[in-house]
């Protein structure tokens, strides 16, 4: 089947609503990767979502191309992961060159037994295309093109939004407004809020070219290569024989001149050699900043993605962290809107994702300081590190061409129940639950695919299933209003058909990988949050402790505040 040219799609302007429509639950602004993910997540949790976009097109140009494993795991939960992976170029390996010489190679996913690779490369228009198609199939999403927010008023219990369309203006009242309107966020400006951080004095040229080439599906990064002296170059493979080439230009480069084909083509020809044939797909010159909003919540307006925080592109921490924002916020907003958690649960979105933004900004700033040294001595240390890296292992660890996006571990989160029992420090509470190959009723499946969208109580049973009383306790826990799902993880030596689980769901750890990754013994129990982060764990099945951890993970103690 031929791919849809998502860049050319132009959506019909959505009509003005004929009635005021009363109070709406959730309004999301911005139909980019973050806004679409947010809308899908809320819709799948049963909420009506109005998604407003000021344009009538998806992404023009490839823009964000690297989507991380954690993002793919989230999109799997939303049902769009497979389309992304089928089309995307999967990769795990990065190589770094200094001048002509390879100095370091890294594997971002050195172990097997994960459904998803460390990364896929996929043009942003495909990513948005697949998310859009899922949103268009979703009855709960009212996607309105060319509906531009031009005013917003904060009331104590809701938000009033003024929307401009080519046919006129109207107002909407919403319990919650989620601003996913990008780095230049008009909503942020309307509220008089600012990002704070560092702007970097350097310019980069993105040239996406179409060509037949035999470079492997790896991330290649050159410092000071002979074909582009004193600067850096990044090469990445995308689907459809499109290659991302990213040239560092320096601060003095003229952005208007540098995007002209007569300037771009010779740069690429020098890289590829005189015989290479290619055509330009997309060219852009960019600068960047590492900055964020002081807080992501302003009463009933919540900021997510680039609207809330920006990083340099080295590390692929922009779109990936934005999708994690949506993943973190959706389940909390759902519980608050259904009256199952106090509003203060929303504040933990800010605490956890502001912490994540800080982590991403720190990594991104450090990469930028290595790639763009700010002084003569900084350049000297950078180049010496690269020279030492050829011969000495320690220096390779210092080479920083971008620390690529990994999921943030909420190790300090107030939602966690700290360990009372001893566990391997390799997997801390607050970390995202690791994947593992398992089987369900004899069919090969992936562990993360079994967790669903709610809380999970996973009980590991490498050798012995729990006793009848423990099984009854688990069944009773499932009746809690938060509806946690109990899941027995049976060891590979157990016969899953020979065990009466009293109706509880079971998976078979056929390779024994899950037990190792979760440092599990008989009846080791994990409480996993709806965003698949670990909330608590124990060495036995204690229903009171599980219930207390569930209350803590939803801030139930704040009830009435």
């Amino acid at each position: 089947m031929k791919d849809i040219d998502y860049q050319k799609l132009e959506f019909a302007q959505s009509p003005m609503p004929t009635t005021a429509g009363g109070r709406h639950g959730v309004v999301v602004v911005g139909a980019g990767p973050v806004g679409l993910s947010m809308a899908l997540d809320m819709a799948q949790r049963g909420h009506r979502v109005i998604l407003l976009d000021d344009d009538c097109r998806l992404s023009a140009g490839s823009r964000a191309i690297c989507f991380a494993k954690r993002t793919l795991d989230i999109w799997d939960r939303l049902g769009v992961g497979q389309a992304m992976v089928d089309k995307g170029v999967s990769w795990n390996v990065g190589k770094v060159f200094f001048k002509n010489d390879p100095v370091w190679s890294f594997d971002l996913l050195p172990e097997t037994g994960h459904r998803r690779p460390a990364f896929i490369n996929l043009q942003q228009y495909y990513c948005e295309g697949y998310l859009y198609e899922a949103a268009a199939r979703e009855d709960n999403i009212d996607l309105r093109w060319r509906h531009k927010v031009i005013g917003v008023t904060r009331e104590s219990t809701h938000v009033v939004i003024t929307v401009e369309t080519p046919d006129g203006c109207y107002t909407l009242s919403a319990d919650w407004l989620i601003a996913c309107d990008g780095a230049r966020s008009p909503l942020r400006k309307m509220l008089g809020l600012e990002n704070q951080g560092r702007v970097f004095r350097d310019r980069f040229l993105i040239a996406d070219v179409k060509m037949q080439a035999d470079f492997p599906s790896e991330r290649w990064f050159w410092f000071d290569p002979p074909f582009h002296p004193n600067q850096s170059v990044l090469l990445h493979r995308q689907p459809d024989n499109v290659w991302r080439i990213d040239f560092q230009l320096g601060w003095d480069a003229d952005p208007l001149e540098e995007v002209k084909p007569e300037k771009v083509m010779p740069r690429i020809q020098t890289l590829l050699g005189p015989d290479a044939r290619f055509e330009l797909e997309w060219v852009s010159v960019y600068t960047f900043a590492c900055e964020r909003m002081h807080t992501f919540r302003h009463d009933r307006i919540l900021f997510a993605g680039d609207a809330a925080h920006r990083v340099s592109p080295f590390g692929a921490r922009g779109a990936n962290s934005g999708v994690q924002d949506a993943d973190n916020l959706a389940w909390k907003l759902d519980l608050v809107m259904r009256g199952l958690a106090p509003t203060s649960l929303i504040d933990t979105y800010c605490q956890e994702r502001e912490f994540a933004a800080e982590e991403n900004i720190r990594h991104s700033s450090r990469s930028t300081d290595f790639i763009t040294p700010k002084s003569e001595i900084s350049l000297l240390f950078r180049n010496m590190t690269l020279r030492l890296a050829k011969d000495y292992e320690f220096a390779r660890k210092l080479v920083n061409s971008g620390r690529l996006s990994t999921a943030t571990s909420y190790a300090q989160s107030a939602l966690n129940t700290p360990d009372g029992d001893a566990f391997s420090p390799a997997l801390p509470v607050g970390a995202p639950a690791p994947d593992a190959p398992i089987s369900v009723q004899g069919d090969r499946r992936w562990w993360l695919g079994q967790l669903g969208a709610g809380f999970v109580i996973a009980v590991f049973c490498p050798r012995h299933p729990p006793g009848a009383q423990a099984l009854r306790d688990l069944a009773r826990l499932q009746e809690d209003p938060l509806a946690p799902k109990a899941l027995l993880v049976l060891g590979k030596t157990l016969d899953p058909d020979g065990i009466d689980t009293h109706g509880l769901a079971r998976v078979h750890d056929v390779d024994g990988v899950a037990h190792v990754r979760y440092d599990a013994r008989d009846h080791t129990t994990y409480l996993v949050r709806p965003d698949q982060h670990i909330a608590a764990r124990w060495r036995g099945i204690d229903p009171d402790a599980i219930l207390a951890a569930l209350r803590r993970a939803t801030r139930a103690a704040d009830e009435g505040n």
Binding site: I377, L380, L388, F394
Partner: protein, 67 residues
């Protein structure tokens, strides 16, 4: 927290100093700066402990700013 050992630690201090000056023999100033950078990286990795290295960086910087 570990701190930098600033009491005398060389078995033969004069041998070390001679070796340091010898390492720079016949190098121009740019090469000498590069050598010093390499030396800092190699020694800092050998120490490894972040607190000790940070203490050394701080003492070195204070020394420069005071003079």
């Amino acid at each position: 927290m570990k701190t930098l050992n600033t009491s005398a630690n060389f078995d033969a201090p004069d041998d070390f100093y001679e070796a340091l000056i010898d390492a720079h023999r016949d190098l121009d100033t740019a090469q000498s700066h590069a050598l010093n950078a390499a030396l800092v990286l190699l020694l800092a990795n050998h120490i490894g402990d972040h607190d000790v290295v940070a203490d050394a960086l701080s003492k070195a910087r204070q020394t420069v700013l005071r003079s």
